[in-house]
Amino acid sequence: MVNLAAAAPIVTASFLASAVEVVEAFTIVLAVSVVSGVRPATLGTAAALAVLALAVAIFGPLIAAIPVHGLQIVVGVLLLVFGLGWLRKAVLRAGGALPLHDETTAFAEESAALAATASRKAAEWIAGMAAFKAVLLEGTEVVFIVLAVGARPGLLLPSAIGAAAACALVLAVGMALRRPLARIPENSLKFAVGALLSGFGVFWCAEGLGVPFPLGDWAILALVAVFLLYGMGMAAFVRYVLARTPAWR
């Protein structure tokens, strides 16, 4: 029986993290589709998904061979690296130190780059490769997140369900709108996902080291809340410092 306290944040983390990655990949595939046609976009996407499926088929079973404590430490560190990285970037963006990621700009830049090669013989190949790389890059992150977040007995399925739901939702909305999903509050999502992954990372590192937190799986929620509040405090601190830095204004 999967514990609700553990499964709910896993589905949420997997869903939100995957949604961020799928939105980014969708923007590039859409640009390829609009500028160079549906064929290179479809072929590039299908090839990348095939490579990802192959990678999962090869490396997935290896995970089962790692002892549980060792796996928890490896996964915990992986989640910390992901989560802290996302949280750091989200805090800097929320604080104004970094510009916000804009899907409309990303779409325009990719379209312009593809249009510049549209007259060449190899234009379709380049467009297909652009879609391939985008899906492979973002897809690899989704695979890592699904495996890392769900790397505990019985939790891989909730993790995969979260990611699949995110893919389905982004694709459904994207196909209906046929334009970049610029309205999705990407930085807020990254903020939340960074806190979720960091919380899981600390929890699993502690379990892997044999020193679990009190309260069992409920400690995950407490850790996520701590990272969220801490991140919000740091974003306010960054805003405060930048507002008082004459060179920044």
């Binding site: 490579v51 430490i73 915990g76 560190v77 910390l80 690296v81 992901f82 802290l84 990285g85 949280l87 750091r88 805090v91 800097l92 604080g95 130190a97 970094l98 490769m129 391939f132 790389k133 492979l136 890059l137 690899t140 992150e141 890592f144 960091s198 990372g201 600390v202 590192c205 502690a206 080291l209 044999g210 020193v211 679990p212 937190f213 400690a219 850790l223 701590v226 990272f227 801490y230 740091m234 960054v238 410092v241 930048l242 830095t245 060179a247 920044w248």
Partner: protein, 75 residues
């Protein structure tokens, strides 16, 4: 070749691009493991020490990145 390049770029983006956080997380977990192994740190305090040090790593990484951005702006 393109597949290998794309995968390499992904792994770089995921782990090596933010070397401070990657090394910070690894060093924290390894250090805690050593402290526990030699019974220097009581096991009951260990999870809280882990969380506190990780938060410290995060704060340091944010401050370093903020200073880097300010320096970039100054030129």
């Amino acid at each position: 070749m393109a597949v290998i390049t794309a995968l390499g770029a992904t792994l770089w983006k995921m782990f090596a691009a933010d070397l401070f956080l990657t090394l910070g997380a690894l060093a924290t977990v390894a250090g805690l493991g050593l402290l526990l192994h030699f019974a220097i740190l009581p096991a009951r305090q260990a999870p809280f020490v882990l969380a506190a040090v990780i938060l410290g790593v995060l704060v340091t990484a944010i401050n370093l990145a903020m200073v880097k951005e300010i320096r970039k702006r100054i030129g």
